[in-house]
């Protein structure tokens, strides 16, 4: 497994002064680790305060926080799309899934070819990527729609295709940036069920962003609350429910209690 220091991948323009975090042999190494990461944009916007936390294999961590507190920035730094001002990120970028808020499908490719894209860019051979794409399409419930073009799909279906596109890289770490913000409540719940079944089946470590507390609690093993900009972590709640999670747990008293606590923490975050 290759460990990339952040921003080691894309460009030479990014001259990084940071070091690769040392691997420890004791506890299972985190799948994704932020250490002292902060971000100030060139225009002076202090988007992200100093942030350190790990996502271990088998964990599904959801981040909630006020709008503009730097959540997307955090994921962009994790993926290497942005370079942090300070700190290091440790993650295996060869097996990184990243679902954006918008499906960002290529309009001129059908579902099958869209799902193949990431594997294609990674240089995976045609036969291999086709079979991976077929499997991923089936997993997200788009079987039968392989030859449809994005303009023929509903918002939820586009999101499924976007999920499948990341799955073909067999991610060990999966980043989700508010992926279901634009679909209706029921569709969102269905897609949540699917994220959970993918999580169980594929065993990736998840880092998920949402504005919905119920979505956060339903999906995660841990919910992290961030403060207003510049965001930093102000609370960290373990979620005690076992997987697989039935949609019914949303009506559970313990679920409501935990949601209440997170809601309080978020209120403080806004203050």
């Amino acid at each position: 497994m290759t460990i990339h220091e952040y921003a080691s991948r894309n460009d030479d323009a990014f001259t990084s002064s940071t070091k690769v975090a040392p691997m420890t042999n004791s506890a299972p190494a985190p799948a994704l680790s932020f250490s002292g990461v902060s971000m100030v944009f060139p225009d002076g916007t202090h988007a992200l305060g100093e942030t350190s936390f790990d996502v271990r294999p088998g964990e599904f961590v959801t981040v909630v926080g006020p709008s503009g507190c730097g959540k997307s920035t955090l994921l962009r730094i994790a993926s290497g799309l942005n370079k942090a001002t300070t700190g290091t990120v440790t993650v295996d970028r060869a097996h990184l899934g990243y679902v954006f808020q918008d499906p960002t499908l290529l309009q001129w490719r059908n579902v099958q070819r869209n799902v193949e894209l990431m594997a294609e860019l990674e240089g995976i051979g045609k036969a291999e990527r086709q079979s991976r794409a077929l499997e991923a399409i089936e997993l997200v419930g788009l079987k039968g729609f392989e030859n449809k073009y994005p303009k023929q799909l509903s918002g939820g279906m586009k999101m499924r295709a976007s999920l499948a596109r990341s799955l073909v890289l067999e991610p060990k770490v999966f980043l989700f940036d508010e992926p279901f913000g634009a679909v209706d409540e029921i569709t969102r719940e269905r897609l949540n069920d699917e994220v959970i079944s993918l999580f169980q089946r594929k065993g990736f470590a998840g880092l998920f962003i949402t504005h919905s507390i119920s979505e956060a609690v339903f999906l995660s093993t841990r919910v992290v609350v961030m403060s207003a900009r510049p965001g930093r972590i102000i609370a960290d709640f373990p979620v005690p429910f076992d997987y697989p999670r039935s949609p019914e747990i949303r009506f559970d008293a313990a679920f409501a209690a935990l949601s209440g606590e997170i809601s309080h923490a978020l209120r403080d975050a806004h203050a």
């Binding site: 960002t104 309009q107 023929q152 499924r160």
Partner: protein
């Protein structure tokens, strides 16, 4: 094996086997009636101008604008005139098509270079704009010396007149992919080349075809203008045939040539519209709404 029990049950959209709802095959009367009505009005007006209008409004004889039926009779039903005009049309078509092909190759390549490096765009764009404003007449001697006054000179005029829309539309298209799509490519460390061929060029296709269509019409104009000035090699195009008739005062044939030249422009436009529909119609939203 699927984990997903309720397969896409949340979105009762389309049966995957069903043909795409956008593949409309019904005949649309509105597409025919509109243009036909305009044609009828136009021809009627034309006829009126010939019989009365020229004299009444401009105090000029009607024969300067021969009646539509005279044009058809003298230019198209008369076999000698017809064959002269059609041969001319052939040469003009050849020049226009070849010119367009050169324009497409040069224009698209230039736009690709401009999209790759801002300095190329900055240093060439003003001259492309200027190129449009140059009266061909003023540089005839230069073109003559460089290209020899024959077909190549005509091709040069063709390219000169028609290159701008291809460059601007292609350039616009190449920058039309959204940031999120670019991010996807950045995530996997895609090279410039990969980005160009798998992202920028495909997403530019609708705009590129728009450029082709506009330039197709201009290239006909370029071919006609070019042959006025560069007659060497005795391959008289439709413009020259028309000019010869006009000098002899034979107006019906002159107008016949005009109709043919206009028809050529329309044909080129339609052909590119059709190709565009074939190439991008299945994914591009508006390709089926226009032309």
């Amino acid at each position: 094996m699927s984990l997903n029990v309720s397969v896409a049950a949340d979105e009762p959209i389309v049966d995957p086997g069903a043909p795409a709802s956008s593949d409309r095959s019904g005949f649309e009367w509105s597409r025919v009636i509109g243009p036909a009505a305009v044609l009828v009005i136009f021809v009627a007006l034309w006829h009126y101008m010939h019989s009365d209008g020229m004299r009444r409004f401009f105090d000029k004889p009607g024969f300067l604008l021969p009646a539509p039926e005279t044009v058809i009779n003298d230019a198209f039903l008369n076999s000698l005139a017809r064959s002269k005009l059609l041969t001319g049309l052939g040469w003009t078509t050849l020049v226009a098509l070849t010119g367009l092909l050169i324009t497409i190759v040069v224009g698209v390549s230039l736009a690709v270079m401009m999209a790759q490096a801002k300095w190329v765009e900055r240093s060439t764009y003003p001259y492309l704009v200027a190129l449009q404003a140059i009266p061909i007449l003023s540089i005839v001697p230069v073109i003559n010396s460089v290209f020899g006054g024959g077909i190549s000179s005509r091709l040069f005029v063709c390219v000169m007149i028609s290159i701008f829309p291809i460059v601007t539309n292609t350039l616009f298209g190449l920058t039309s992919a959204d940031v999120g799509q670019h991010d996807l490519f950045t995530l996997r460390g895609a090279s410039r080349r990969t980005r160009l061929f798998k992202l920028q060029l495909p997403s530019a296709m609708p705009a590129i075809f728009t450029g082709f269509r506009i330039s197709a019409g201009l290239s006909v104009i370029g071919a006609v203008v070019g042959e006025q000035f560069f007659r060497k090699g005795s391959k008289p195009g439709i413009g020259i045939v028309m000019e010869n008739y006009r000098q002899k005062g034979i107006y019906p044939q002159t107008y016949g040539g005009l109709i043919l030249a206009a028809g050529l422009g329309i044909a080129m436009f339609l052909v590119f519209g059709w190709i565009s529909k074939r190439v991008v119609g299945h994914w591009h939203e508006s390709a089926r709404k226009t032309t």
